[in-house]
Amino acid sequence: MKRLRIEELLQRNVWDVGKKPHIEINMDACGSCESKLCVKLCPAGCYTVVDGKVLFSYEGCLECGTCRTVCPQGAVKWSYPRSGKGVYYRFT
């Protein structure tokens, strides 16, 4: 058995990713953050650090609500994908 990367785990799901992001990050507030809790706690790895800055991609979002709960800057403008887009759970 080998450890799966987060990309590999997310690939197991059925998706219909929308064209427009359903979550927006206020980059001004985000830029001044030290703790970067989103990077550590988002279960989909949607937040990554590149050159010291947080990058967000909504494509693998599991719509859980963790980021909006933990962001100390209140920088996450969170909502749901429209028209049934996003993750489609079958066996959960």
């Binding site: 058995m1 450890r3 799966l4 987060i6 785990l9 997310l10 197991r12 799901n13 219909d16 703790s35 809790l37 550590k40 706690l41 988002c42 279960p43 989909a44 790895g45 599991l62 719509e63 859980c64 609500g65 963790t66 909006r68 709960t69 933990v70 969170w78 909502s79 749901y80 994908p81 429209r82 028209s83 049934g84 887009k85 996003g86 993750v87 489609y88 759970y89 079958r90 066996f91 959960t92």
Partner: protein, 439 residues
């Protein structure tokens, strides 16, 4: 999508927001009573945004659907309850209880919710999926309907069954934003395993299942736990971590990526033989509520509005038992009964008239359970208790069983176990007893 052949009324008696177990139950009960009900959900198909652990208690569900145990898509009836305390060094204590009667079962929540919604539709509920409700409409301080994009639909009463992320209630200013102290993050994998392999590995028959909770090192000591549930041809494994403590652990550098925890469980040498030839077929995450009573909105009814299920904080999470789905269904049923009463009065769905729902909830087993387990909630969130409760018994058994020459007496082993935690046996016994009483 709205099917083109349905005639779509312009006004409903009730609109239910969110087709989870709570929303589906309230829509079903109201429709059965003859009310015109609209049930909306943001998912592509009912249930497809649902994720939970895996085990549901039958009792409260049967009060809504008496034939649920025969007709619903149930996977296995829980026969074996297991609990494991896990140490850092591979030491593990596992206890197993073989149940005498069938009180709970495993089911895929997407499947079960779809069944519940189909029952509501049979009774006349109009169900519309792919609808994100953006706002509860108000007029003169009363909720009068919903808005989704440019569309507004009106009703005498709205039932909010939106679940743990209460965007709509927050927008109305009825609850504050999410608080890490009250919430927990659940992350889950579904493993495909052949049916006969599950039966052999867990020593169960075709329709018998296992509910297994894990404590201790599986969450790197973060208060919370792990779970394993068996289904027909899959095994669900997952971890739940208390959000406020997860934040502390992340700040302290103790956790780098939450998703690694569930992979740790899948690969754990004590468990991985149970699903040797498995394949991960689904991966997901969902928030849950750690402390229902403090998550509960100040009021459960407002003019034109009732709040049910997770959104109302009606979920019991003791650490060894999670009762969310059955509480959600039961609260949906109570809300429907309250609506029937209120709408039969001349003034309709005023706050006064809807108040019966709050009274029913307060008098119900749900509220009672939440109150009874309140002290244990505090305890389960305490990292020190969490560490102690796992370390002492592990040390005790390692003293007792891992021997070179002399076998210690049980008392000696206990004394040494206590010493390892810097307390005398007696003071520790008192402490532990104090803790156990709260459980």
């Amino acid at each position: 999508m709205i099917k083109s052949n349905t005639t779509f009324p312009t006004k409903f008696d009730a609109i239910v927001v969110g087709a989870g177990p709570a929303g589906a139950a309230s829509a079903y009960v109201l429709s059965k009573k003859g009310f015109k009900v609209l049930l909306v959900d943001r998912s592509r198909e009912a249930g497809s945004k649902e994720l939970y652990g895996g085990r549901i208690y039958l009792g409260p569900l049967k009060e809504v659907w008496p034939d649920l145990d025969k007709k619903a898509p149930i996977h296995r009836w829980i026969k074996k309850e297991r609990a494991s305390i896990m140490g850092k060094d591979g030491r593990i204590i596992t206890i197993e209880y073989n149940a005498g009667r069938r009180t709970s079962f495993t089911a895929y929540l997407p499947e079960l919710v779809r069944w519940m919604v189909s029952k509501a539709e049979e009774e006349g509920t109009i169900f519309v999926d792919e609808v994100v409700v953006d706002e509860l409409l108000t007029s003169d301080g009363k909720v009068v309907g919903i808005r989704s994009g440019p569309d507004e639909i009106r009703s005498d009463v709205v039932i909010d069954a939106e679940g743990v992320n209460r965007l709509l209630l927050e927008k109305l200013g009825l609850v504050s934003g999410p608080r890490p102290e009250e919430l927990a993050l659940g992350i889950k994998e579904v493993l495909k395993v052949r049916k006969n392999e599950i039966n052999a590995q867990f020593n169960v028959d075709d329709d018998e299942g296992v509910a297994w909770i894990l404590m201790g090192d599986i969450t790197l000591g973060i208060p919370g736990g792990g779970f394993i549930y068996t289904f027909n041809e899959t095994i669900s494994i997952g971890i739940v971590i208390h959000m406020a403590n997860a934040i502390r652990a992340a700040e302290a550098g103790a956790i780098n990526h939450s998703f690694e925890l569930v992979e740790n469980l899948r690969l754990h040498p004590y468990f991985n033989k149970l699903w040797k030839s498995s394949d991960v077929i689904e991966y997901g995450a969902h928030l849950t509520i750690e402390d229902g009573l403090s998550f509960m909105p100040k009021r459960l009814v407002y003019p034109g509005l009732l709040i049910v299920g997770d959104a109302a904080g009606l979920i019991l999470n003791t650490g060894y038992t999670v009762r969310g789905v059955d509480f959600a269904v039961y609260s949906g049923k109570l809300a429907a009964e309250a609506v029937e009463k209120a709408l039969s009065e001349k003034e309709g769905a005023t706050e006064e008239n809807l108040k019966v729902y709050e009274d029913m909830v307060r008098k119900s087993f749900m509220y009672n359970e939440l109150k009874r387990h309140r002290a244990s909630k505090e305890l389960m969130k305490d990292p020190e208790f969490f560490t102690k409760i796992s370390r002492i018994p592990l040390k005790f058994f390692s003293e007792l069983y891992e021997i070179d020459k002399e076998v210690p007496t049980a008392y000696e082993a206990f004394k040494n176990a206590c010493r390892s935690e810097d307390s005398g046996p007696l003071s520790l016994m008192f402490k532990l007893w104090g803790m156990v009483k709260k459980l």
